[in-house]
Every structure is written in structure tokens, then in C-alpha cells.
Symmetry: C2
Subunit: 588 residues, 2 copies
Amino acid sequence: MTYRTPVAEISFALRHVAGLDAAIASGAHGDLTMEDADAILQEAGRVADAVIAPLNPVGDRQGARLADGAVTTSPGWREAYRTWIEGGWNGLSAEADHGGQGLPLLLNAACSEMWNAGSISFALCPLLTAGGIEALAKHGSDDLKERYLGKLISGEWTATMNLTEPQAGSDLSLLRSRAEPAGDGTYRIVGSKIYITYGEHDLTDNIVHLVLARLKDAPAGTRGISLFLVPKFLPDTSRNDLRCSGLEHKLGIHGSPTCSMAFGDNGGATGWLIGEENRGLACMFTMMNSARLNVGLQGVGVAERSYQQALAYARDRRQGKAAGSSDPVSPIVDHADVQRMLLTMKAYTAAARGICYLTAQALDAARGAEGKAGLDRASLLTPVAKAFSTDIANEVTSLGVQVHGGMGFVEETGAAQHMRDARILAIYEGTNGIQAIDLVARKLPLNGGATVRAQLASMRRVAEAVQKDATPAFGHLGPRLRAGIESLDRATSYLLKALASNRPEEAQAGATPYLRLFGLAQGATCLALAALASNAALKTGETDPAHGARIALARFFAENLLTAAGGLEQSVVDGGGFTQDGMLALAG
Amino acid sequence: MTYRTPVAEISFALRHVAGLDAAIASGAHGDLTMEDADAILQEAGRVADAVIAPLNPVGDRQGARLADGAVTTSPGWREAYRTWIEGGWNGLSAEADHGGQGLPLLLNAACSEMWNAGSISFALCPLLTAGGIEALAKHGSDDLKERYLGKLISGEWTATMNLTEPQAGSDLSLLRSRAEPAGDGTYRIVGSKIYITYGEHDLTDNIVHLVLARLKDAPAGTRGISLFLVPKFLPDTSRNDLRCSGLEHKLGIHGSPTCSMAFGDNGGATGWLIGEENRGLACMFTMMNSARLNVGLQGVGVAERSYQQALAYARDRRQGKAAGSSDPVSPIVDHADVQRMLLTMKAYTAAARGICYLTAQALDAARGAEGKAGLDRASLLTPVAKAFSTDIANEVTSLGVQVHGGMGFVEETGAAQHMRDARILAIYEGTNGIQAIDLVARKLPLNGGATVRAQLASMRRVAEAVQKDATPAFGHLGPRLRAGIESLDRATSYLLKALASNRPEEAQAGATPYLRLFGLAQGATCLALAALASNAALKTGETDPAHGARIALARFFAENLLTAAGGLEQSVVDGGGFTQDGMLALAG
């Protein structure tokens, strides 16, 4: 069950899939060198392996506990958190004003993957803090920033997001929590929230809650929601009027306390407005790209960990004689069907990693020279990064159980934990169905379709390079990649037309298979980029076996997983008939 | 969370997919009438809903417990088991000689689905007993049959299968348990077994263990394994030398005790040989078709239950405005993407049900006029029934969680239990990878390929009927079904050729996508049969809305799920390159 961060693989993807070295060379990241970046990755990998990864089974067996309103995290978590923030990891890509290191988001994304491979439950806490930092940095008053930003960036305090209420999950327009001006510039907040990750814990002295609530006489729906900062302890060190009223008993991520929160039992919790009144949802949206990307990276992390564990087991466990083997009992990794499972795990994980890194790269570009075009690209890729990575995390972790056979179903093995933990990822931070609708209904129309067309063009350039290269080891990679991109292109045109013709239900009906198709084509493109770079390295005489592995992996993905593209296109283009008669089929 | 057995749907599938009424009309089932069969289904449904279904959450929360070598089942289980066997359900399709009711296996399959929808954990106990009955009836001496068969058929005693040992899972050639003749016709059995379902429990006074062990000087490998009957209590009522040494802590099916068993701590447990010495594996193989079919039915049952729960939730939960709705907040079932999830659940479940029933029908046919051809057909369909049904059970129960959103991740909702419970099905009774290899390497070559060709021809006849019918409501059902069957045909030819050309690793590499392709084409054929029957009924003026639902469901399956067929064919036919370089890709 030892886990080791694949630092070399991550570094390779940063360079050759997401172009980090080119960005550095162009001066986009100041005086950062690729050597600096690699040193950071090495050290992050060491911390993930040595400090965080061992927490994961502990958190599962002895989850966070609530007693007398206080939540105790699992054994060892306080110490690990302390070590982790002392390493400066929390503020890696935060801007320098309040103590951040101002490093590329892309580098932070790679580190985020590592923390999550170590333990999703542990890494969730800083993931929420990062969202708080972003909202505050963009929309907070100077006074609020002065008071909270430094401590959040250092990790001395953590942040939470209080959105969901029992009647308001995917649909925030239904939320009921109330806020009233107190007359002194603060507000009194009253309401109940559920599913609040790390809403209460013992890792830090204070917790900064970001809470969505309605002002009296605010417009109905989402345009009447405001965002408030509501700290557990007030500036005068007194306790605010809020408490954790319960912990959920969950399928997974037991180490992460999922709290019900009660605000204002005694008249109202004191809060400060972030941004403008009734513009709270807009404040939330500004941090949505990076929060969703981070959930995608959780998927990549847990998938990588599940893969490593399954591979180690398959190399160790001996059953049956593999075809062509001279040994009467082979390690199960020698059996073709087990290889298929392991390659599927590895290939999906690498593809999702590539998509997430491309998204982070676009966010960096948006901060820099590219500006809005970068932001639009990030907006397009974000739902794919979130949903594809977490869908494959469910599949990969389930395969991880399957490779273990009966042992996989026994909890002590640990394979099942990854599957249970991963299951939340497709649900929170916008369900994957919502991601798909976001992709189709909001992102495809960006700039009249020009953003998605540009992305398709960038994929085609890679497919052309593969076909030009024509290395025999690529197998059918070239034609399959080309076919997958063409399927995506046609499905895109179909959906844009459906939207333009005011047939939104048709576009929504095809959204989920479309997002999968996008993920497969974009993911295959990422693997092809890595394969091309490895092939070039082999031609210059490099002998690292990882090069051959990347070529073989890209080929496997194209020949065995991207093959789904044509069928997905068909489902998008003429599978939507059920919106007319679907209710009929469910009625029977 | 109320569950209701879909009796009418099951009855319709028995008639129109598996031809039960035709078989009855032909006299194949003696004086049984379809009215009798429907009365039995009604009553079984009532028992499943009222007696078994309520046990399921109880078994999950308070699983079976071991203390001082004794296993206590969950609260209410003893009473429910008593009620169930008193209803005569255990011996429904057992032959009449020892108290069975001699009813069609097809009818028993339908009931088995119901028990498993009620509770997999509960239904597992009789599932194992059924295997014991079959082995004993076919291979036991008259004396053993006289002593045990009646009590197993009535359910007064239960049976277990003791195959697995820590080093011997999928590969039984490695097993080490020993047996020695005692000189009095009995044997002394010594060894440790793991993963023994209901190896110890308090539902009955005695437990009849069927144990695989090696005689001294037996040939190595699978040809040196013998099967023994080893009762917990000996005929003289003394306790046999065997005990439950531990219970597994599992991901799911907590109500079903999974035991480690120690045989012969004090010199040797007393056992009786079943069949001939060294022919134990052959004895096991004779019951493999029905045991594997029963696991497939477990998949159908849990998928049906998960679907019903998700549908009820989706009708109740209101979030967001559905496209085209005038209501500002719609039940989520009105959203196209949620409909897609629910239809996928329902369509996969119905397809798997059809495949399982067809397999049971073939087993009935093998008992009757068709003989070997029926048995060969059952042998061909069995790995598909087992693996496809349990693969889709994993997918359907995961979708069941997804439909619930955040609520799905909270254990109290119950949706997650179905997912956890279902996860074992693809593993036990031969992993689904082993089913796929069995299908490709052993079943396709049956009768030189004639068995699979006949099955393809039977699918084509249905596709032709659909195309001839040309009802507009069928949408693309006809062409998609045709295309799916042709993909299956080409993939079949490819694999038969690979086998004939002594390229077993290529056949094994393609086995899993091939089985999926087979399941999709066969499943779509089953749904098309139901749709054709419903369409015919509509033409005669029937107004049951279930008819329209079946047509819409077949169409959805063809347009949205069977669309994967072409890609699967591609993966089978030219995705096997990884057997040459797969190890390379994993090495990196």
C-alpha cells in the first residue's frame, strides 16, 4: 500500500502537455526556472508521500468526530497540517501581496494532485481555503483583506464555503438563509447550512466561513443572494453565534468532517459583506473555475493512488498461467485481461491529468499576456477537467477493486476506500450532469463558438503531427485520434445548432455523452503530445524506458478507449429522442 | 425507500422475451399453466416486498457478528428465513424426488431476482444452498442424497461452497486442503478456507459444507481435487471438527457472513466423497451455469431496486427549472440529464433481466426436449448473463447514487448501500474477467462456432422483425440493432480466427470488450422483443401505458447505449496491440 508520487511523470506532463517550460522561457513566470519548478515538485512529492499519504487509512477508520459542538480530526492530522503549512504549501500560487509565493497555478495544480493522492480528505481543507482566498482577494474590502487574507494564505486559519441548504442544492435560487444590516457596517446572519466541508475542526484556531444569504427585500432567485464573511471567532476574540450541529455519516472521505452548520441560534451571527449586496453568486462564480479544477485534480490524485496500489498487487499476486508464459503460475499482471484493466487505469489517469494541467495553464495565461482568451479557454475546459477526471476516478478506483479480486472487497486492503472516497467527486462542486450542461449551454457558445473551434484546431494540430511522424509504435494512434476529433467536431456543430435553434432540451439531452467525448478526444490529444515528445527524445538517443511507456500508453488509449468516440457522437446527435418520450418510458 | 417487485414487467419478460407461455403451451412444463405461473410470481413478489426487502438496511447497519465461534445474523433474519422456507420457495425448481416442486428454472430465476432485489445478503444463503443441492443431486451417492437432499431442498439445512484458499482464488489448481481416507468410507479433511459465504450462521440447525480438497498422492493441479460433503453436525448429532475462525470486514453485503473456515483443528473433519476421487472440479463445473446465472440475477435485482429508489427520489426532489417547463422549480425527473440517468438505469436492468431469463430458458430446454443444444446455448449465454448483469449493476447503482446528488453520499439515504453491495457481484463466482475469457476461449468454439452462430441468427431475426414493423416510435431501433449485431458478428469471427490461429493472448486481450458487445447486442434484442410484443398489443387496442414504455425503452437503449457497439468491435479487433507492448506501458 505504499504510494509514491510520480514526480517525473508529472514534470513531463507539465512541460510537454501544458508547456510549462515554454511559458517559463517566454518570461511569463518572472525569474522562475524549470529547475526551480522541478525542485518544488520533488519536495512536494516527498511531503505527499511521507506526511500526507500515511494519514489516509487512519482518516478512513477513525473519521472526524463531533462532541459538544467541537470536531476532532483523525489522529495525526493536526501535526500533519502544521508541517504542511510550515512548508509554505498553502500559499504557493497566491499573489505575493499578503504572503503568497505567486508561483504558477499550473505548478500549484500539480502539487494539489499530490496532496489529493495522499489523502482527499486531508487535502479538502486547503482546497476550500483556496476558494476563500480567491473570493476575498477579488471581492473583499481592503479592511477584510487586511484582517483575513494573510492568515488564510499562510494556512494559519482555514476557510469554508456555505452554500447548500436542504432545499437548495444544485439550485441555489431556493436558499433561505437571511442577513440583516446591524447598522454598524456588519450584518446578522441566520440560517442552516448542510454539507459544509471542514465547517468545524481542530486544525486551526479560527475558521473563516463564507456564507451565502438573502437580505430582506432582496429580489427572488439567484439575483438576491449576497456573500458574507462570518468568522468562528470575531476580531475581539469572542465566539461568533454559529455552531456545527451535526456530522454526516458518509460513504467515504470519513476524515473530512461534513458539517451541518447553524448560524444565529442566539440572534444572529456577525458577518461582513463581500462584494456588493445581491451579487454574492457572481463572487462565487469568480472562483468556480479553480475550485472545479481542483476537484478534477482530486480525481486524478485518487486515480493515481488506486492505480499504483493495483499495479503493486498485480505484480505480487500469482494465479494461473499466462498465455505464452513458461511459468505454470504467473503474476496476474501477465494476464492480458489484467493488463487491460491496469492500462485503462493508467491511461485514463494520465489523460485526466493532461486535461487538468491544460486548464491550469489557461488560468495562468489569463493572468498573463493572453488575458480574456486564456480565461475563455479555461472556462471551456473547466467542466471537462472537473467531470471527466472525476468520472474516470470512479471507474479507475472501481477497477482498482476488481484487480484485487476478493481482496478488493475486504476493507483492510484499502482498495475499496479509494472507490468510496472518489464517489463524492462527481457530485460536489456542481454535479457532473451540471458540468455537462455548463459545457454545452454556456461554454460552447463562448465567442460565438470561436473558443471551442480554436480548441478543436489545437487538437487537430497534434493529430497531424502524429500522422506525420508515422512511428510504427504509434499503431492506430493517428487515425483514431483524427476520428475522435472529427466526432467531437460534428457533435459540437450539432449542439451549437440545437442551441441556436432554441432547442435547449436537445442540447441538454446530449450534454453528458458530449462531455465524455470531449474528454476522450482532449485526453487522447494530451497523451499524444507526451508520446510525440517521448518519441523525439528517443530519436535523440535518450534511453529512459518511460519514453516507450508513454508511446505505448497513448496507443492503448487511442485503440481501446477513444474508440468510444463514434458511438458517443451518435448518442449526442440522434439519441435525444427520449426528451419527447422519456417520461413515457419511465412511467411504465 | 419502499421497494415494489415489478411483477407485471417480470411476467411480460418471461412470456415475450424468454417464451415461457410458448414453452407451457408446448407441454414442456407438464400441467403448469401461465395463470399458475403468474400466481406464483405475485406471491413471490409479495414475500420479497413484505418479508425480505425490509431486512436490507438492517443487515447493512448491523451485519452478521461472530462471537465464540458462533455467527449471529442480523435482527429479524431468522424469522424471515423461517417464513421464506415455510412458503416452499427454496425448492421451487428442485426435482420432485426429494420434495422439490419441479417448476421451471425460468420461474425460479424470476423469483431469485426478487429475493435479491429484496436483499442480496439474505438471498445469498439459499443461492449457495441451491448449488449444494445441484452438486449433490447430480453426483452424490444415494445414501448421501437420502440423508441430505430433502433437508437442503426444504431449506431446513443450508449448504456452502468451500473453494477459495488464500493462495488459491481464481486458480484452484493451487489449493492445499488435504483429505485422507479414514478406512470406514469417510475422509478426514484438514485445511483453511476463506471467503465462505454463510460458512457459519444461526438460521438453521445444521450446515452442509461442500469442500474441495486434495487426496494424498493426487495428481498436481486441478485434476487432483476432490469434493467432499462435510456437515457441521454429524449424523450422530456430534459436532464435526470444523469452525468459523473469522468474519471479513467488507465493503458491502454486511448481512451475509463471509467466513474463514478451519477444518480439522483436532485431527480432521469427517467428510464424505461426492462423485469420484480427483473429479471434484468436474462436480463443481456442473453447477456452474446455474450458480453464475444466479449471480447475474443478483445484479438484476439490486439494479432494479436502485432504479426504483432513484426514480422515487427524482420525482420528489425539486431543483431548477426544466427546459420547456412553466414551473420555476421542477421535479428533477423533468431534467433531460436526470432522465438520461434514470433511463440508462432502467434500460440496462431490463436488458440484463432479458439475458438472464434467456439463459434460464436454455437450462430448462436442456432439461427437456432440446437436450444438448439447450445446454450449449446456456453455456454460451451464462458468462454474459453473469458478467454483463453485474457490470451494469455496478453502473446502475452508481447512477443511483448520482441521481440523489449529495444525499446519495450520505449512508442514511440507502442509495450507497446498493452500490456497495453490488460491488462484490463482478468479483465472486468467477471474476468478470474470467467470465469474458470463458466466453471467448471456451464458449465461442462450442460445436465449431455453430452455437454462437445460431445465437447471432436468432438476434438477426428480431432485428428483421423490427425493421419490417417500421413503427415510427421505434426511432433508430432497427438500424442500430442491426449494426450492433453485425459488429458482434465481425468481432466473433475475428476471435474465432485468432483462436484457430493459436493466438490465445489476442483473444484474451479482446475478451472483456467482446463480452460487453455481446451483452449490448443480446440485451437490445431482448428489449426489441418486448417492444415488438407491446407494439402488437397496442395494435389490438390494448391501452396499458407499459406497452408504450417498453417501446420507448428499447429505442433509448438502441440510440444511447447500443451505440457503443462499433467502438467495442474496434477495440476487440485491433486493440490487442498492448499484449506486445503492454508491459512496457506499465513499466514506465
